[in-house]
């Protein structure tokens, strides 16, 4: 019997300094425990759990601001990083989930079976925890754990309406595809581990650096493909998008809203982090690996946007429409991620990669409010009238002027029309794409054509609301939900005015750990990767 000649090493117990950067996650865990214990103290626990979750999320959000960007970077022996990008995403995510909880109070809460609340919020907070961890992973193991922690509760949330046959079916499809794609992803990651003998992505001896020195191989490509399969599923990029409309239709509306932003955003941030590591380790040389990867992501983004927009044309259900619209927007953002890979390679300039990250972060911030607003209005209308059909929105301009206005603002913003924030986001996208050489013009063209396509189906909803007459009774939406919708619409207008500061904020936070600009500029003339 021979032993493994490996150093087991000292066991690792993180001290407070290490944990401090992850205070938001700790608050989320505390909130989960509190939610689980609530039914022991409260007779009708649904609303109480909602409040507990809200308090926990607020505490987590405050801790994001209090802790801020921790200068120490790597944590837990490189398992996780706390860098500006992850902090920005966590702030966005927590704000968004607070919105989702408020939305729950105004839409689903009264109909939810008493006693289901604790489970619902445990799952919601658990998925949130996973999604915030996804932004902080710098290790393949942590990547898998975070992705699964985000996925597993999402599967259940999708089928949470137990009496709803469509919900169960959606959940089934979701979990089937999810399990298959995640096993493919893990298989690919095992290949990466086999090739390079480490699970660490960044840093000396990390995957990115070894790939940079050893160049590409067929196995490497297989591994990268499978990683893109796994993350593409979360982002709902095109060949892996089938779950998205079904789940959005089958799930209750706040779950759809949650998945539309949080799941995609987390996937994108994670994809950006991995791609940024690859790109920076190549020392910003235009290597075939980076070029091919960029083309792959660009084509994926273009196809995703086009498929999402064309499929949205024929939708009669508002949730399915928003599902396909979210696929399209994921496509736009993927195009920018492709830029993050190739931009540095073309221009040998880190600023462009940072610009791309900034554009995606800004887009996510805008997209968050657009979708939250649109889903909230759809949920409020569904609660009052019980319908999700777009045709039943007829006369909404008179039946509920406020809701119709908020929904219109969100939809116009999704098209990218001034004066709404979506316009600024789109300008940013074009702006970033054009900085990256003539090859990128075709992406500009694709996004342009897609914007025109998308106009048609978004404006159709507005047309139904304002131009079709209906004798149906006026609607008085729940004040809390109405408040959420109004705040979203107001922010969309406000962002055009406050574009400068918010964009600067996104720019300020668009930096990844391990990609140090000064190191790069010092090293950039030599072909060796930075030490």
């Amino acid at each position: 019997m021979n032993t493994l000649p490996v150093a087991i090493g000292l066991p690792y117990v993180p001290d407070w300094g290490q944990l401090r950067a992850f205070a938001p996650e700790l608050w989320l865990i505390a909130a989960i425990v509190a939610v689980l214990l609530t039914p022991f103290f409260v007779k009708k626990p649904n609303a109480a759990c909602g409040w507990v979750a809200l308090v926990g999320l607020l505490a987590a959000l405050v801790s994001v601001f209090v802790v801020g960007v921790d200068g120490t970077g790597e944590h837990f022996r490189g398992l996780m990083v706390a860098d500006p990008v992850s902090v920005f995403w966590k702030g966005l995510l927590l704000m968004f989930v607070i919105g989702i909880v408020l939305m729950w109070f105004s839409t689903t809460a009264p109909t939810m079976h008493q006693g289901d609340g604790p489970e619902f919020f445990t799952l919601l907070l658990g998925a949130t925890l996973g999604m915030s961890l996804m932004a902080s992973t710098s290790n393949l193991l942590m990547l898998v754990i975070a992705v699964e922690l985000a996925s597993l509760p999402s599967y259940v949330l999708a089928g949470f309406r137990k009496t709803h046959l469509a919900g169960a079916e959606a959940s089934l499809k979701y979990i089937l595809f999810g399990a298959a794609t995640s096993s493919i992803m893990v298989y690919g990651l095992s290949m990466l581990y086999g090739l390079y003998g480490t699970l660490q992505i960044d840093g000396p001896g990390g995957l990115a650096q070894q790939i940079a020195t050893s160049g590409g191989s067929a196995l490497l490509w297989m591994a990268i493909f499978s990683l893109i399969v796994g993350l593409g599923f979360k982002i709902s990029a095109v060949p892996f998008h089938f779950w998205c409309p079904d789940v959005f239709e089958g799930a209750s509306i706040e779950v759809s809203a949650f998945l539309s932003v949080a799941s995609k955003g987390a996937g994108l941030v994670l994809l950006m982090r991995v791609m940024m590591s690859f790109a920076s380790a190549q020392a910003y040389e235009s290597t075939p690996l980076l070029n091919h990867l960029a083309v792959l992501l660009g084509v994926l983004g273009a196809i995703t946007a086009t498929v999402g927009n064309t499929a949205a044309f024929v939708q009669r259900n508002i949730k399915r429409l928003l599902a396909y619209s979210s696929i399209a927007h994921a496509g736009y953002m993927l195009c920018i991620v492709s830029l993050l890979v190739r931009g540095p390679a073309v221009k040998a300039d880190l600023d462009l990669a940072s610009t791309a990250a900034q554009v995606v972060l800004f887009y996510l911030a805008v997209y968050l409010f657009m979708n939250l607003g649109a889903f909230t209005v759809a949920g409020l209308i569904e609660r009052e009238t019980g319908t999700e059909r777009i045709a039943d929105y007829a006369g909404m301009g008179r039946r509920s002027p406020l809701m119709a206005f908020c929904l219109s603002a969100c939809l116009f913003s999704l098209v990218g029309l001034p004066p709404f924030a979506g316009f600024v986001a789109k300008v940013n996208v074009f702006w970033a794409l054009m900085q990256n050489g003539s090859w990128w013009w075709w992406l500009v063209g694709v996004i342009g054509v897609n914007t025109v396509l998308s106009l048609y189906y978004y404006v159709r909803v507005i047309k139904v609301m304002y131009l079709d007459d209906s004798s149906s009774a006026p609607i008085w939406p729940h004040p809390l939900g109405a408040g959420v919708a109004v705040v979203c619409a107001a922010i969309l207008v406000f962002m055009l005015i406050a574009f400068g500061p918010i964009n600067r904020l996104a720019g300020h936070y668009s930096h990844f750990y391990g990609v140090d600009q000064t190191t790069f500029t010092a090293e950039f003339s030599s072909s060796q990767p930075p030490p």
């Binding site: 490996v6 898998v144 469509a166 298959a180 096993s183 095992s190 290949m191 409309p245």
Partner: protein, 102 residues
């Protein structure tokens, strides 16, 4: 008789994975489909263990532990869901559920 080397383990892992993948894509029985995803996870686990041994570090084993847990969690979720659906439709045929289309 040759000694067992890395490629033999990888071969077993790959065979398990591919059987799972093909099964997932061709079978229509829900339980079998889930079994197939489990099979894929087991292929991954064998891969990881073999690589861990090959690279002489424990990362592979640690990874395997988590893969097992994830597979178990997914399986228990899926089983719960299948029970729920079976009680509504009395069949395990994946094609029976087609409420959502388009």
């Amino acid at each position: 008789m040759t000694e067992l080397a890395l490629q033999h383990y990888l071969g077993v892992g790959a065979i398990l994975f591919v059987i799972g993948l093909i099964g997932f894509m061709t079978r229509r029985n829900l339980i079998v489909m889930f079994l197939c995803t489990e099979l894929m996870f087991q292929g991954v686990a064998i891969n990881l263990i073999a690589f861990g041994r090959y690279h002489q570090n424990l990362a592979g084993q640690a990874f395997t532990v988590f893969v097992l847990v994830i597979a178990a969690a997914e399986a228990s979720l899926a089983l719960g869901l299948v029970v729920l659906l079976f009680r509504q439709k009395n069949t395990l045929d994946a094609d029976a559920w087609r409420e959502l289309r388009g």
